[in-house]
């Protein structure tokens, strides 16, 4: 969707246009859900975060300033703050939000269906990819929240370092420092796996 079209849709949403809102929901919900799931590792809570994020688009569309940020950046900032709320709640009440009867699939939902190739050009077999996906999932979950946010935004969500720094409300240098620490940690852990 072109930025001008998107801005027009946001203005329409601010005026109460439900059809415009539906189009923006259809355009943004999947990337936001992928982000929230990688942040929280819990599909049910991630869906709650995405619903709340987009309902805030409905109620606060008039506050969006197209000249200052892309809509996706604005939405990811809201989603990230909601994810932090969930993580804090989990820390305060361990086990309270850990799925249970809400169908949590922690560490059990990396459906890998893409024909990736490794850096040597050899096909990576499905079983190996799924094992790797589960390992990456657990390693991401173990990263501090800000490192995880930085890596997910830049690697998976496709934001530039500058855009990711805006979402995290940090300087670009601070964002890149988080990215470097996250990548070093993951490389170290994955290397240790290969050594075992």
């Amino acid at each position: 969707m072109q930025p001008d079209e998107e801005s027009a849709l946001v203005r329409a949403v601010a005026a109460g246009d439900r059809d415009a809102f539906r189009r923006l929901v259809q355009s943004h919900q999947r990337p936001l859900l992928a982000f929230a799931r990688r942040m929280l590792q819990d599909p049910a809570q991630a869906e709650d975060v995405v619903q709340e994020t987009l309902l805030r688009l409905w109620s606060r569309a008039a506050r969006f300033e197209p000249g200052r940020a892309r809509l996706t950046t604005w939405l990811h900032n809201i989603a990230r703050n909601l994810c932090i709320d969930v993580l804090r709640r989990q820390q305060r009440e361990p086990g309270a939000d850990a799925g249970g009867d809400r169908g949590n699939c922690r560490h059990g939902d990396p459906p890998v269906d893409r024909a990736d190739e490794n850096a040597d050009g050899n096909p990576v077999h499905r079983e190996e990819r799924e094992r790797l996906a589960r390992r990456v999932q657990s390693l991401l979950a173990a990263l501090p929240e800000r490192q995880r946010s930085a890596l997910v935004l830049c690697h998976y969500q496709g934001f530039s370092n500058r855009e990711a720094s805006e979402i995290l409300e940090l300087s670009v240098d601070a964002l890149e420092s988080l990215l470097a620490r996250a990548r070093r940690t993951l490389k170290k852990e994955l290397n240790a796996d290969h050594a075992d």
Partner: protein
Amino acid sequence: MQIDEFTELLDRYGSRSEDWPTSQRDAMRALLSASNAAREALHAAQQLDVALDAYVMQSPDLTERIMARLPRSRLQEVLDWLLPSMPSLWWRPAFAAAMPLLLGIAVGATVDVAGVDAVNSDWDAQEQIVLDSQIGLIAALNAGEGDE
């Protein structure tokens, strides 16, 4: 560019050269062509990207769930109050607009027409009595004038 700086930049920007600042790319390529250690560092960064890429997921469509949570408009609330069980949205306003007509039909079908006729008959009778009394009075007056 030295190997330490190169590995630091790899951790900041990743293994894809297009994500690197353009000002660093030439120095990066020069180092890669000259240094085995740089090539090994790049390979390790590429392996990390492959591992990260393995963690993909399919996301369900939440559109309808989100639309269902939108606050309802005032018109919708009124219509829901009027017609709580109607599933279709588009013909509700038409149905609401037709309510006065339906009300009129309902009133016309249920009011007792015989009662209305009875009321009309009473009025006719009273009017006849008044007329008769006026005719009687005029006749009496005329008779009085004749006697004189």
